[in-house]
Symmetry: C2
Subunit: 222 residues, 2 copies
Amino acid sequence: MGKEPEDTIASRISRVLADRIVRGELAPGARLRQDHIAEEFETSHVPVREAFRRLEAQGLAISEPRRGVRVASFDLAEVREVAEMRAVLEVLALRHAARHLTPAILDAVEDAAREGDAAADVHGWEAANRRFHRLILAPCGMKRLLASIDDLHAASARFLFSAWQSGWEKRTDHDHRAILAALRQGKADEAAAILQKHVQWIGRGPQPAKTGAAREIFAIVG
Amino acid sequence: MGKEPEDTIASRISRVLADRIVRGELAPGARLRQDHIAEEFETSHVPVREAFRRLEAQGLAISEPRRGVRVASFDLAEVREVAEMRAVLEVLALRHAARHLTPAILDAVEDAAREGDAAADVHGWEAANRRFHRLILAPCGMKRLLASIDDLHAASARFLFSAWQSGWEKRTDHDHRAILAALRQGKADEAAAILQKHVQWIGRGPQPAKTGAAREIFAIVG
DNA sequence: CTTCTCAAAATTATAGATAATTTTTTCCGC
DNA sequence: GCGGAAAAAATTATCTATAATTTTGAGAAG
């Protein structure tokens, strides 16, 4: 034991780069130079190029032939787009997942909700939030749908971290509580209705020190 | 002039392979051997591997580390899944596109509808159908959403070609006509409601000569 | 001081070569 | 003949090398 499935180098690189992009360590528009990345990961650039293709498909990077790969930019319109896609897809997933939710799962969901409310910083909150959503949706068992939702959550997280680089404050997420309560009572439609609105709630982050462009301070907070 | 944008070799390979998978020339489970494909396209296998990553993201192929890439399999559950994802995403796109539809676009939509009804074989119908849907949805201007819908259309086409390898018969698509009529009258909600049902209509293909597994003869026909 | 041109440097994209793993085949014992 | 171990072949994944393109920068002309 201890021997992990040990997937390919390309997938490891793509995971690490995706994480950096989502966390904002790599800024929108930043160039991703294959040789430099290859050197960092102590590999050749062949797996790096494969990782790029993955990031491209996730919408985290943009590749221009012969001109390299850059971190994808985004604007308020895309934040809205992602929010609306999440709304319809997560509702669809929940409709199917509802009948497969067990008390044990709902207990774990409650844990995630509590953890989110108690989170001291935006990263902690995001992790708990993602866990909450995944727990209630995964039982739908629709792999393609769940993969799409995962990609949208990565985009959401990026918007969120971009808006709240600091200045996070604890708050009780009443939507999460209401969704959980509805699910416990078997009211799937009610839960779905709350979820649909919840995911489309777009918040305004704290004003940055420098009065930067206003387009970067909005994010999905659901 | 005459000088095409000339994208990368990898993207050309991924397009050709995607087309073969969709048309059923490459059967589910078939192995995609990088060296053979590289030889066919007269390149090395590096761009081939990049193309694989793209096909994987589209859900057309599955890669197992060290064990190669295979054409993805599918079953009735996935046909339903794709139909439902298309339903919610296309409705979302149409809601946004509606206000941007011009009479000129609607004329082109009517052309596509006519072409679909007149199509003599399943490939002709699929091309016209795809054009119909793209024409009414593209004006939403949401790139991420449209890209997801395109991938789902590729999956749909695959299911369709798998079910109707032959035995296609002309028929007037009343849903398309009703959607068009509603859009001409500015009744976006009505058009969206029809579209939502339309896309989820799953038809049963003609029984193949050999009584094969029943799971392969169902497909989305909208 | 600006901006244009051209050369040098950096970078991307692909080819060719190598190591490691998996699959297939062969062949031996039962 | 049937299973199964061992060798051979095929295949994947990666690295190194090369060609082609783009970006950068220096220097000259205006």
